[in-house]
Amino acid sequence: HLSMANPMSYNGGCVMAMKGRNCVAIASDLRFGVQMQTISMEFDKVQQMGPRLFVGFPGLATDTQTVFQRMQFRKNLYELRENKSVRPQTLMNMISNLLYERRFGPYFVEPVVAGLDPISLEPYVATMDLIGCPMEPEDFVVSGTCTEQMFGMCETLWQPDMSPDELFECISQAMLNAFDRDAASGWGCHVYLIERDQVTVRALKARMD
């Protein structure tokens, strides 16, 4: 069997996020594997970092856990010092900073940030590369081992100003059909729908192959 090969595809997995009308959605597959062997089907790469703020760290699983833990630490200190909830844009900047600190020996994750601004409730999505170069588009972001497939699905299905129900349907179909074409992703999916007054988590019934 191969030794490490490519750290970005060693464990597999994918995350995407989309903007809707006064809402955002973020979704993650559930596979954790070692190259072609699937070890767990319960490894969600998306975690909550605030009442309306979620982050996903697809890539090397050890770095998924470490980067999240280190970001928790920095976010908690920020909120204690500033006495306010961190804004999504600011959190994105903090993650970018954490990753660039490791410019020449990076963490092998390509994060996705999705949330609503705590005050204005403006929807926000962002992604960055493994050394922290940010991208804040107006529509959707994708990251993981099947980005080509996810881009194709998102470009086709996404429209501006979708309602929460439409957004849920859109991101679910985009995820399912993208990771069904990737041997290193899938085995279940969690979709988080974030609105001003509620956050809904749903588990999709997916192919387990």
Binding site: G33, Q37, S40, A183
Partner: protein
């Protein structure tokens, strides 16, 4: 700056298996071919006819195994004419072996030849990488087979009926599909006996269920 998968050969990552029963054989396979991690075909048929009563299950390089199966089919068609009867499964397996063994340095192919003939009934012949030929009552191959050897050893019994064999193969392929990233899609089954071949597809949602942890 081309995508990773465009630089990689198409492989039938795969789970294949074949089981003898009293009166014939049951063969099964998944339906995924991949190029790196990209799934190039999710409905591939890896159960390839060599004659009306003899099939082969293919794993390894898709190009190699398709080309070799075509060659074997040609030789067997010819031998049907020259010998005046259906070729035996043993003969088909030996034809396959001689191609795989003599070209072993240049090929990446492992097959299972299984079928029925008048002389010895249902037979399964396993030809792994390198070109060894061995007859076995039950054989499994491909990357997915490694995940189910324990299950096969624990659950296989000689003298099963046709239906029990089909359930056994479906359950085994289903377990391998779940754990092996290179196997997936549907489970294709075929039963080969005196009356010929009956093929079945079991869709992903109808595969036997197991723990999702």
């Amino acid at each position: 700056m081309l995508a990773d998968w465009t630089q990689q050969e198409v492989l039938t990552g795969t789970t294949i298996m074949a089981v003898e029963y009293n009166g014939g054989v049951v063969i099964g396979a998944d339906s995924r071919t991949s190029s790196g991690t990209y799934v190039t075909n999710r409905t591939q048929d890896k159960l390839t006819p060599l004659t009306e009563y003899i099939y082969c299950c293919r794993s390894g390089s898709a190009a190699d195994t398709q080309a070799i199966a075509d060659h074997v089919r040609y030789y067997l068609d010819f031998s049907r004419i020259s010998q005046g009867r259906e070729p035996t499964v043993r003969y088909a397996a030996h034809v396959m072996q001689s191609i795989l063994y003599n070209n072993r340095d240049n090929l990446s192919a492992a097959v299972i030849v299984a079928g029925w003939d008048e002389v010895n009934g249902g037979q399964v012949y396993c030809i792994p990488l390198g070109g060894l030929l061995v007859r076995q009552p039950m054989a499994a191959g491909g990357s997915g087979s490694t995940y189910i050897w324990g299950h096969l050893d624990a659950q296989f019994k000689p003298g099963m009926t046709d239906t029990e064999c089909q359930e056994f193969v479906a359950k085994s392929v289903s377990l391998a599909i779940k754990r092996d990233g290179s196997s997936g899609g549907v489970c294709r089954l075929a039963v080969i006996n005196r009356s010929g071949v009956q093929r079945r597809i079991i869709m992903h949602e109808d595969l036997p269920k197991s723990y999702d942890g």
